[in-house]
């Protein structure tokens, strides 16, 4: 435990992923998406690279999300569909544990843009 900490001492690296080119084209502002992710506390359930404190384990980790083929293992990856999933997952999969979350359409779009830049 102490040794790991010692080894990690020199490197507190924060991955600034939002500035890279997206793997898939998506409308929206990734920087604003990161702010929205923080405001809406997505990190309580998901581990999300580049977002402070986001290391939840209730839902799947979202690292390299830009390479993910399916949304939640169910739906084909598509910016509009992902935006809908983020805002209102139960409408697409009634059995999901992911709640409907109040947000603006722009926020959902921006979050998609952020996620698509995670490689």
């Amino acid at each position: 435990m102490l040794l790991t900490a010692l080894a990690a001492l020199a490197a507190v690296t924060m991955c600034g992923c939002a500035d890279r080119e997206p793997l898939r084209p998506a409308p929206g502002d990734p920087a604003a998406g990161r702010v929205a992710i923080q405001r809406l506390q997505c990190g309580a359930c998901h581990a999300i690279p580049g977002v402070t404190g986001a290391r939840g384990q209730v839902g799947p980790p979202l690292d390299a999300y830009g390479r993910r083929v399916y949304i939640a293992g169910k739906l084909p990856q598509d910016p509009a569909l992902l935006a809908r999933w983020i805002a209102d997952a139960p409408s697409l999969a009634p059995g999901t544990a992911m709640p409907k979350i109040e947000m603006t359409a722009a926020e959902a779009r921006d979050m998609v843009a952020y996620l698509y830049r995670l490689r």
């Binding site: 435990m1 102490l2 900490a5 507190v12 402070t52």
Partner: protein, 836 residues
Amino acid sequence: MKKEHLPNSLPRPPDEFEALKRAWARPKGWRFFTAVNNTTIGMLYVGTALLFFVLAGILALIMRTQLAVPNNDLVGYQTYNQLFTMHGTIMMFLFAVPVIEALGVYLLPGMIAARDLPFPRLGAYAYWAYAIGGLIFFGTLFFNAAPDGGWFMYPPLTGSEYTPSNSADWWLLGIGFIEISAIAGAIELIVGILRTRAPGMSLGKMPIYAWAMLVVGGMIVFGFPPVILATLLMELERAFDWPFFIAAKGGDPVLWQHLFWLFGHPEVYIIFLPAAGMVSMMLPVMCRTPIVGYRWVVGALVGVGVLSFGLWAHHMFTTGMPHLSATLFSAASMAVAIPTGIQIFAWIATLWRGKMQREGPSWFLLAFIGVFTLGGLTGIMLAVVPFNWQVHDTHFVVAHLHYVLIGGMVFPLFAALYYWAPLVSGRKLSEAMARWGCGLMFVGLNVAFFPMHITGMLGMPRRVHTYAEGLGWEDLNMVSTVGAYVFAAGVLVVLADLALHLRLGGKVDANVWGAGTLEWLPLDSYGSRSIPQVRGRDPLWDHPALAREVDSGQHYLPGTATGGRETIVTSPIDARAQYLLVVPGPSWLPLIAGAGTAAFFLLLTVKMVAAAIIGGMVALAAMLKWMWQTDRGVTHPPVDIGGGITLPVYASGPVSHSWWAMVVLMVVDATVFASLVFSYCYLGTNAADTWPPAGVNLPGLAWPAAAALAWLASSALFGLARRRLDSPAVFRAALLAAIALMLAAFGTDLYGQWQAGLRADDHAYGAIVYTVLAWQGFHVAVLFVMAAYTLARSWCGLLDATRRVTFDNTRLFWHYMAGQGIAGIVLVHALPRWLG
């Protein structure tokens, strides 16, 4: 001074110097571990303390890295809470206090021109117990078993309900015995300073550092007992459910806070005063002028020492204490600024009067003045009660205490490393590395800790493993973390300088700074060739030929009179030569006893009771064996040390150094007992219900009366034995009867409570009463061993009317203990009747 006035004349006998060297030769090879010389033990001691400084510093870097960003998960709370607990504990108990004692052990004999400290084996024992115990204590971190309740260990968090693992026991037992080691060191230094100064070095001519260490020795004697008692109470509560700090059973967690800070605040000055003393030695030399206001500075040291015992409650302003009490403690806390101000202005005036040499130590000294002043000023802020309500337990306090401790202690210590390193290797360390080291440390300290004042005022508490984003703390924390690494780089540069340029050598004759005090005489393992007659505060400045005279053997005791190791014992105030003390040489026993003591306490922590007892027996056997070799009696006719002075080689009674050590030890003991009385009264006067609680009966008065009479009779028998030292049969009978009466006294007292139905785990009342009894019982056991040892000496013919130090010490302690026994009886039996 003309030659004919020197104590000894030239030429010296041809084999005198060889015999002196032979007597003081440092053991070689494996026998290195038997060394007891103050210089060898002092070096080991300083080195080990610096190792702990580095280790605890690494823990701090991990913490700073964790706090660099909000919501960080580099280390979890479990690790973090261990880290800050261990960082504080190690820095205080395994670095700061040991390193000041270590430097004292190394420097003081040279400074007062003694050949060694009066109890070299005790010094070696204190070192080994500390080194072995400390390293094992640190090792608990690697097993995720380190204490995690903070270095202040507040109950009930650290009680068995909220800390069921034995992590807290590591702290209590580990620190408990390191305190004992510190007290052993303090007794050694006090007796050394008061009784082994060179002839003529009256108190008024003593170097300021020796004054500082004398005051600090006294502070350890009065300051450590409260925390020894506190750790004892907490361990009794954890191990046997004696509820001292459990409110539901009549205890009070605030009692711990009083006892802890009764120690904890003097502790800060125990760390600072030696550093201030060193500054008062170094600064005048670096400025080529005597210190301005010697008497004022000495008075200030004593003043801080006394005042420091009246401030402890300023750590407790937020506990809801009445505003009036808080104000009194606030005023006392502010008053410390006056003796501190005296010292700071004496140093500044010295800087004005002299011409500061722009070299190694000077940089650290200047950094010290700036940093420490800021720390002192924030200390005054903390003493302001309403302001304290806000910043107490925040990062503001973290900033304050690091400014005070790093500023007030680490900078002077590093200055001292640069200043006194030539004593070891005969040459200075690297000037370039001194500048880099000091610069990086100064910048790093300010970058790391200045922002913390603000972080604290923006609301960030101490001892948090992480913090929320968005409260305005992120940037300040990141800056602090960067500063911490810069500081660490500075420390690394200094340590590298030491590693590269410090060479352990033989004889050193290098007064590189042109200093005036005696540690700069040509020295070797035996100290100086002869022991100088001292006539002023800066003998080497007052009399430039002194070094040559001393080194050619023209002053006192230029060789060894008995063929063994000797030093001159002088009177405590005006330093007149009184007798020649033959000090013990190399031995395995201190190492064995130290290892045994460490084993006893640490194995007890992991509940390996049988193994612990074996360790304790080994330690006891080693100590008895080494004591058996002391008290040699008159083995040699009186010795001519030169200058017409003839000294006996054996002394008993108040003139003996051993008598002084015994008295200091009894003061320590009495202070522990006073802390116990305080605890009893505190619990009694703060009790929610009656004292004793309803349903508890006091034993009838016959029990305590019988016990008190037995104590008196036992003590009287020792008085009788004292007068019949010349008739062994009567003497032994008196001692045997005294032992029987002591056991009867204790048994009566104990049984009286038991038959009245009192139990220790029901209520704080029973717990504290049985603690008083247990404390007496512990002393009864110690006295039993001492009396048996004295009888054994008598049977072996090693005790008579002249060779009597062993008996005198036992007798002193016996009388003391009769007093303590009766005081305990009065406390437990009279006080509740009087209160009720």
